[in-house]
Symmetry: D2
Subunit: 177 residues, 4 copies
Amino acid sequence: MTIQMIILNGGSSSGKSGIVRCLQDVLPDPWLAFGCDSFVDAMPARMQAADEGISIGADGEVSVGAEFRALEAAWTEGIVAMARAGARIIVDDVFLGAAASQQRWQKALDGLPVLWVGVRCESAVAAGREIARGDRARGMAESQADLVHEDVYYDLEVDTTHTESLLCARAIATHVD
Amino acid sequence: MTIQMIILNGGSSSGKSGIVRCLQDVLPDPWLAFGCDSFVDAMPARMQAADEGISIGADGEVSVGAEFRALEAAWTEGIVAMARAGARIIVDDVFLGAAASQQRWQKALDGLPVLWVGVRCESAVAAGREIARGDRARGMAESQADLVHEDVYYDLEVDTTHTESLLCARAIATHVD
Amino acid sequence: MTIQMIILNGGSSSGKSGIVRCLQDVLPDPWLAFGCDSFVDAMPARMQAADEGISIGADGEVSVGAEFRALEAAWTEGIVAMARAGARIIVDDVFLGAAASQQRWQKALDGLPVLWVGVRCESAVAAGREIARGDRARGMAESQADLVHEDVYYDLEVDTTHTESLLCARAIATHVD
Amino acid sequence: MTIQMIILNGGSSSGKSGIVRCLQDVLPDPWLAFGCDSFVDAMPARMQAADEGISIGADGEVSVGAEFRALEAAWTEGIVAMARAGARIIVDDVFLGAAASQQRWQKALDGLPVLWVGVRCESAVAAGREIARGDRARGMAESQADLVHEDVYYDLEVDTTHTESLLCARAIATHVD
C-alpha cells in the first residue's frame, strides 16, 4: 500500500510548516504541500474577521462559520482528488474540531491510504515561538496545543519541543515507502 | 447554467491578481482563488530552478519540465473537483502553452460550465509594472504578453493597460449569474 | 547643488512604493529606499493597535500616539544622517500631519538639499487599488488622499491616476542631475 | 551608563530575528529593530546578484562589492544617529568581516554605549533550520556559523542550539538597565 498523502495535525506554532518544507526536501519524489494557511489565503479578504468566515478572538481563539465550513469541505474533496489523480500530497492542518476534523478528511479520503502524523509541542514552548514569529495573534498556540489532538488517531507522532524540524521530517519519511 | 468557475489567463504582470482580489470583493458569494503562483508555492523548493521543475532564463523566459507537468495535471483535476464539490472557484493562470494549456483545463472540466477571461496588457506597460513590483524576473512580462493568448477562446477579455482592476472585475462580474 | 534625498509624500495606495522601485531602477547611481512602512515594521509588534503606537480605525483612519511620534523623530534624524554620510536616499512617507509633517523633515534636514515630490491619485481610483492590493485596511486610501497634501510644498507633483509608475519615476529622475 | 543600543551578531539561520522580536516583547520600553535584511531590502533590486552589490554563490557564500560597502557605512552612521537622537535600537547583523565588521560599528558608535551579543548555533542545526525556513540560499548557515564570530568581542553570548529564542531574549534583557 503506497502512501500518497501525509496529513499533519498540530496547533498553531507547533512547527508544522518547517516540518513540511523539510519533508519536501528529504523525500526523493516531489510532494505538493497544502494546508489551512493556503486555504485561508484563498478565501475572500472579507471572510477574515467575519461571522460567516474565520475570526480570531482577543485570546487567540479561532472561530469559523458556516460558509467557512462549506468551502472547507469542497477544498478537502479537491485536495484528495489531486492525490487520486496521481500527485503526492502533504497537508498541514489544525484540527479545531479534533476527531470530528479527522472524520471530515476520512470521509473525503474514502479509503485512500494516508499517513496520519501528530505534531506536538509543549504549550509554553509553542507560545514562546509565537512571540518569536511575530505574525500570529497572541494566544493561538496555547489555546490549540492540546485541544486539536483529542481522540485523534495517528500513525506516528513527533514532538518539536526538543527535536528539530529536520529530524522530525526524517522520522516521518521512514514511514513513507 | 450557473457559472461555478472563472478562469483568467494573462501574461506575467498583466494584472490578474489584482482583478482576482477585486472579483472576490464585488461578487456577493464567497469565491476561492487559486492560481499558478499558489501552485508553484506548493512545490518543493528544489523544483524551482531545476530541469524537471520550473526555471526562469536570464531573459525572463519560463521553462517547465516533465515532473512539473505531471503535478500540474493532478492539481488541475483537484481544483475542478473543488468546484464539482460545490465551491465557487477563480483561477488565474499563465497559459505558457496557449491553446494547449486551455485544452488541459477543458479536459479536466469535462463540461463543467466556466467563464473564460483573457487579461490583456500592452507589453511595454506590463514591463513597466514588472519593474514597479520589483519581485519578478525581468523580461517575463514582455515574453508572455502575446504568446499566452494565441488561439485561446474567451467569453470576454479585459485590458488593464488603461482600465483599473476594479472596473475589469465589475465587467467580469456581470457575466456571473 | 546635488540632490542627495528625494522625499515622496502621498496617501495610502497612491502608488508611492511602485514609483520608488522604478526610481531605483532608472537612476544610474544606487539609492537606498526607506519609508513609513519600513519604519512601522521596525517597531515592536505591541505598538501596532495601541494607544501609544499606531492604530487603524474601522474607517481606515490612522492614529499615532506620543511614543510613535518620539521614535519617528529619532528615525527621521537617522535617515537624514545616512544622507549626510554620503548615501543617496529616497523616502516615501504619508504626511498625516500635512505641512507639520513636512516641517519635521525640514528641521532634521537643516538645509540639506532635497527634492520634494507630491504623489497624487484620485480618491476613487486609490480606493479601488486598495481593494486590488488586498493587504490594507479599507478606507485608508480615501481618508488620506487629499488630507496629506494640504499646504505642503513640492518641487514637482506626479499623478498616478492615469500615469504609470515608471513614467512618474522618469519625470522625477529628470530633476535629479 | 544606560544601554541605548543592542547589536546581535550571528550567522544566517542562527535565530537572530526570532530573538529580536522576543526582545521587543520582553523589554518594557519600545525598541526599534533594524538589521542586514532590512538594509538589503532598501537597496535597488539590481544590486542583488551584482558585482558591486551583494551576490550569493552556489555554495551559499555571500560576496559584497564596493558600492555595497559604501552604502553600508552610511547606513551604519544613520542607525547610530537614531540612537543618539534618543531611540532605543536593536541591530541584528552578520559580521561577514568578523572583527573588521565590529570595528566599522565601533567607529560609528564613537563611544556610545552598546551591548554586544553573540548569537551562536551549531552549524548542523542551523543548516537544518535553513531547510525548514525554505527562503534562504542553501549553504549560507554552514558557511557563516563560525566565521562571523572570529575575534569578535561580546558582552554576552547566547546559543540557540538548545535554547528557545524567548529564553535567549530574557537573558539578554537582564543586561539592559
